[in-house]
């Protein structure tokens, strides 16, 4: 059995042995081989679960290598996120922006547009909602809250269009432009909270003055859970109904499935990209509004612990399915809260980011690996 180790040894012209179109069979090194199985279309339902478990195992190795017992760390995260009614409401509070941003990412991905700019859209949404409180401080609640919602959705939508317009008219890859706009949006937020909007009575704290009760979202019951959860749930239902039952949703699915076919069917793809990116950004902007008006009650430095990036994984883990989005955003809300809770035993909350990245890895690896079948070589 001869194996070529060097490419230089191969002449550029077809070698004599291959000239006749007959190529000598290379003996397989293994008796088994992986093949793409044409019969499996969708990845099985268990890959998201398996990928979460695999990611926890691998990150556990890193945690163990760092001198901590991974079981202790995971138990701490689990009990911090889901073990008490306080932890559970905190998890739900974190799930709200994740669900809204995740919906935004999901709807863009429905037409194969990669919006990784939810973080920036979230930031400008939060800024726009805060602008209402700064410039119209004395309005009653029934006017303030709707205006905050409108401002944040429009601001996030415009941020989305800043990505959609270069993509449709100038062939600019939306991955790069949406990511660059994240940095621009976050710098804008930093400028405002460190500069003109900084609370003069805030002892140099980088944040705006606290919102009044009329500028805050009502809380549900006696908890920290706010009205934003209703917005998020309405948004999921609208997403599910639109995609499944409307003509527009059908067109989106068609574009996502086969852009050329959709184009030939007379669907205006450019217009769809513009609309979808505006909606996508608007949802992330709304998430920014619910966070400042529902949780923080002020705009401050570092308002998002990376919701926009986590939303990408939420959307992927959910496979863009509405129910999956609900489950995934709840789980990842728990992951963020669990990340905070390990700080009490002296670990950085970046553990949760590391687990998130690993989950995404195993998810795509699992989805692809599930399409392969082990075959006995002939």
């Amino acid at each position: 059995m001869s194996r070529r180790n060097s490419v230089e040894a191969v002449p550029l012209e077809p070698a004599a042995e291959t000239a006749g179109g007959v190529r000598p069979e290379r003996k397989p090194r293994f008796a088994f081989r992986f093949e793409l199985d044409p019969s499996s279309k969708a990845a099985p339902w268990w890959t998201p679960i398996a990928s979460v478990i695999a990611a926890l195992v691998v990150c556990g190795i890193f945690i163990g290598a760092n001198g901590m017992n991974p079981i202790t760390v995971y138990a701490k995260m689990l009990s911090g996120a889901f073990g008490s009614s306080f932890g559970l409401t905190e998890t739900l509070v974190k799930a709200i922006p994740l669900l809204l941003c995740g919906l935004g990412v999901a709807i863009a991905y429905k037409i194969a547009v990669w919006n990784i700019g939810a973080e920036g859209q979230f930031a400008v949404g939060a800024v726009a909602a805060t602008a209402v409180t700064i410039y119209f401080p004395e309005m009653p609640m029934w006017a303030t809250i709707p205006l905050m919602i409108a401002f944040s959705v429009v601001a996030g939508g415009i941020w989305g269009l800043f990505t959609a317009i270069p993509r449709t008219y100038f062939q600019v890859n939306e991955l790069i432009s949406s990511l660059m706009l994240n940095y621009v949006g976050l710098l804008l937020l930093d400028y405002l909270v460190f500069g003109p909007w900084r609370d003069p009575k805030g002892f140099n704290f980088p944040g705006t003055p606290m919102f009044s009760d009329a500028q805050s979202l009502p809380l549900i019951g006696d908890t920290r859970l706010h009205l934003g959860i209703v917005f998020a749930l309405i948004a999921v239902v609208l997403y599910a109904l639109t995609i499944r039952y409307t003509r527009w949703g059908y067109e989106l699915r068609l574009i996502g499935a086969n852009t050329d076919a959709a184009h030939n069917a007379g669907i205006n793809i450019k217009r769809h990209i513009l609309i979808v990116m505006a909606i996508s950004g608007g949802l992330a902007g709304l998430a920014g509004m619910t966070e400042v008006a529902g949780v923080a009650h002020r705009l401050s430095y570092g308002i998002s612990p990376g919701y926009g990036y986590t939303a990408i994984i939420v959307a992927w883990l959910a496979k863009l399915h509405p129910v999956g989005l609900l489950v995934a955003s709840f789980l990842f809300g728990g992951l963020i809260v669990g990340g905070y809770s390990v700080q009490t035993i002296g670990l950085p909350s970046a553990i949760s980011e590391m687990i998130q990245g690993a989950i995404l890895f195993f998810l795509i690896a699992g989805d692809m690996a599930a399409k392969f079948r082990l075959r006995r070589s002939a």
Binding site: W114, P166, Q171, I176, Y183, Y309, I312, A350, G357
Partner: protein
Amino acid sequence: MDFTLQLIVAAISSGTPLLIATLGGILNERAGIIQLGTEGIMLMGAVTACITYLHTGSFVLTVLAVFAVSAVLGFVHAFMTVSLRANHIVSGLALTLFGAGLSAYIGKPISGTPLPATLPKLNLTFLDGIPVIGDIFGHLDILTWFSFLLVAAMHFFIHRTSWGLHLRAIGDNPATADVMGIRVQLFRYGYVVIGAMLIGLAGADLLLVNSPSWNEGMTAGRGWIAVALIIFARWNPFRALLCAYFFGALDTLGFRIQLTGSEIPSYFLKMIPYIVTILVLMFLGWRNKNKPSGSPEALGNPYIREQRF
């Protein structure tokens, strides 16, 4: 030195990490693999460099450790994209998220600790007498000289050697390359791993030369700018050098405008590189509407050959 000369020197110094990362990316993409994990690999390179240097005090060991870590990350990306045929974009995103999280986790204890020394400079004193050249080239650090060499070497390799021809064939038309007897999958692995090693080195350069202490997320999107630079440079090493220094100049320009006591808040000056990236891409898109971009033709496509292995 006058303002322009200072700007050129600063542009080279802050453009070097961008240049090395872009060259690594070009190597990846010439072989047909999209590499969006740049930001994550750079962060891992920087944190590895910081930890190894603080513990060993040896630049050689530091560079070796950075190579080892980024080679592993590159291997993971190659396994996902070449063997599992996963979507290059998601795999790269996962790499970036994982790298950002892991680097923040393992870098937490040393965060903010200043390095005892930065990378040594090559003082070519015999150049000092020559007015402009002496000012620019007289006191550059070793990695900058390495990056000059790398540009020339990569240009020669890609365009003048048969290995380079094979590399281009793998990226443009893997089926033909396969018929020629080139082991497409093996070489894609190799180029992704080497490319990732360069990207990791870029992160180390950022830490060892430009800002000698580890901070969470210290690359601040430079990895993504490097991804855009590949497009500006049209997959060509020499153009990459020009584009990287242009962005290096933008990077330092904001800082320099601030030093002159300008009224513009620094936050807006920091936005410049990001906004310029989008504007340049738009300009290129508008100008090259009906022209090929220079991108490898099979970029992002998995190569599947019937009955291989």
